[in-house]
Amino acid sequence: MLKTRSYRLLAYVAMALMLVVNVAAKDKKTVVEPSAYEITGAGSGTEGTCLVKVYVYGNATDAAIKRAAVHGVIFRGFSGTSSGASQPAMASESLEETYRDFFKSFLDEKGACQNYASIVPASYERIKTQKGVKVGAVVQVMRAALRKELEKQEIIKSLSSGF
């Protein structure tokens, strides 16, 4: 009887430990999974904006495509613009973890990131791959406004900071 109780107690402790480890692992995950989308340049945008082609894996909604575009412009950068220029990331990937709370709400599918991107009409694409379906679209990202917001939140520094 006592032995059974001990085993049961041990099982509970093990389960609790596994739960803690699982929660910790989930916490370390980035807000948007890097493998969930692809981003590349799609020509030159008007002043203060950039045009990117984004592919999101799965049956992605417009909101998911826009979220991936904003995430890509902030943390990944992209190449393939018509003028041959590559665009560096606005912020290092580690900042996503440092400002996790901000990015969790900002990059939510209903978050403020949706205000900084718009899908170019008639640019949708749906491709079947070995990994599954991926949905793509050309997105215009308001890069200057996005940068100003991140500067306002003191996540990135402005060029004139310190002077």
Binding site: S44, E47, G48, T81, S82, S83, G84, A85, S86, Q87, P88, R143, A144, K157, S158, L159, S160, G162, F163
Partner: protein, 316 residues
């Protein structure tokens, strides 16, 4: 006593919170290659040798593309909180102010303002970082392709602190001004990212400057090998620099008994009172050190901009 100490600490904290480093000035200039290629150069005879220099005034007055490119770079930099010094405006104001200065007279004696030949020579368009822009258009049949280069060069050290370059995709339809506008806009992000790294390095490790040391030819017998308490003057200067630079960082590139060239001198961005520091202020501190015993050497400091100064030893 405790109250006084606390007040002092608060004052110091407030001074450091509001102190700002001296902001470098940036100006867009067409590169020498571009000026040569487009014929905006002046050739003159320099003691028998024909020399060619870029004619910026002619370039800015005649090339619509150059005006469009400089304006676009200026507006993008202003948007990033770093407005540029406009070259055309600087050239114009130099000319207007020269005329105005010649006409100014004092009310009491009618005296005009003093101006040495050096003062006149120094009236040129200057900036701390020059953004040299170049582009080239390749035409293959109806297709146009633009190669664009932008290099940010430190006017004192000559180092390239930022750069962006690339060749765009060939275009059938777009006109040259549109291709150029796209190139300027698309390359600006990478350029600004590199410029920001340079500024961050400066804020962390001090401003990188150059100090020239020379000796007056006045027959006083003082040169950089003169000895003071068993130390040569050049060693005294070396030690002072080691004590006053950020992390003791400087490099004596060249020296004889008559001159010394110190490069990569990392000076602090702020004076102890929180005021911004430049190379002129730093060299003035060295001058005041040398003017005190046991050296008691009078020196002259000549300002050569935010990042370079000349210290002439022997007299004012």
């Amino acid at each position: 006593m405790k109250k006084i100490f606390l007040s002092l600490m608060l004052l110091l904290a407030a001074a450091s919170a509001f102190s700002q480093a001296k902001k470098p000035t940036l100006m867009v200039v067409p590169s020498d290659v571009w000026c040569n290629k487009n014929g905006f150069v002046q050739t003159f005879d320099n003691q028998g040798i024909s020399e060619t220099v870029p004619d910026y005034k002619a370039a800015l007055s005649n090339s619509m593309d150059l005006v469009a490119v400089t304006t676009k770079i200026g507006s993008l930099m202003a948007d990033r909180g770093f407005p540029l010094k406009d070259m055309a405006q600087t050239i114009k104001s130099i000319s207007t102010l020269s005329t105005e200065d010649r006409l100014i007279q004092s009310k009491t004696t009618g005296a005009s303002m003093t101006e040495s030949p050096l003062d006149r020579f120094r009236r040129t368009a200057k900036a701390d970082i020059l953004l040299e822009v170049t582009w080239n258009v390749t035409t293959t049949g109806p297709k146009k392709q633009v190669t664009y280069m932008l290099a940010g060069k430190d006017a004192y050290s000559g180092k390239q602190v930022a750069g962006a370059e690339g060749t765009g995709a060939p275009s059938f339809a777009a006109d040259l001004p549109i291709l150029l506008e796209e190139a300027v806009q698309d390359h600006m992000e990478a350029f600004c990212a590199q410029l920001q790294s340079h500024f961050e390095d400066m804020l962390q490790n001090g401003r990188e400057c150059i100090l020239d040391v020379r000796v007056w030819d006045n027959g006083s017998g003082i040169d950089l090998e003169s000895e003071y308490e068993g130390q040569e003057l050049i060693d005294v200067i070396d030690n002072w620099l080691a004590d006053n630079t950020v992390q003791h960082r400087f490099n004596k590139s060249d020296a004889t008994e008559n001159f010394a060239l110190y490069e990569q001198v990392r000076i602090p961005l702020y004076k102890p009172n929180g005021q911004g520091m430049d190379m002129d202020g730093f060299a003035r501190n060295l001058r005041s050190y040398l003017s005190k015993p046991p050296y008691s050497i009078p020196c002259k400091v000549i300002n050569r901009g935010l990042g370079r100064a000349l210290l002439v030893i022997g007299e004012k």
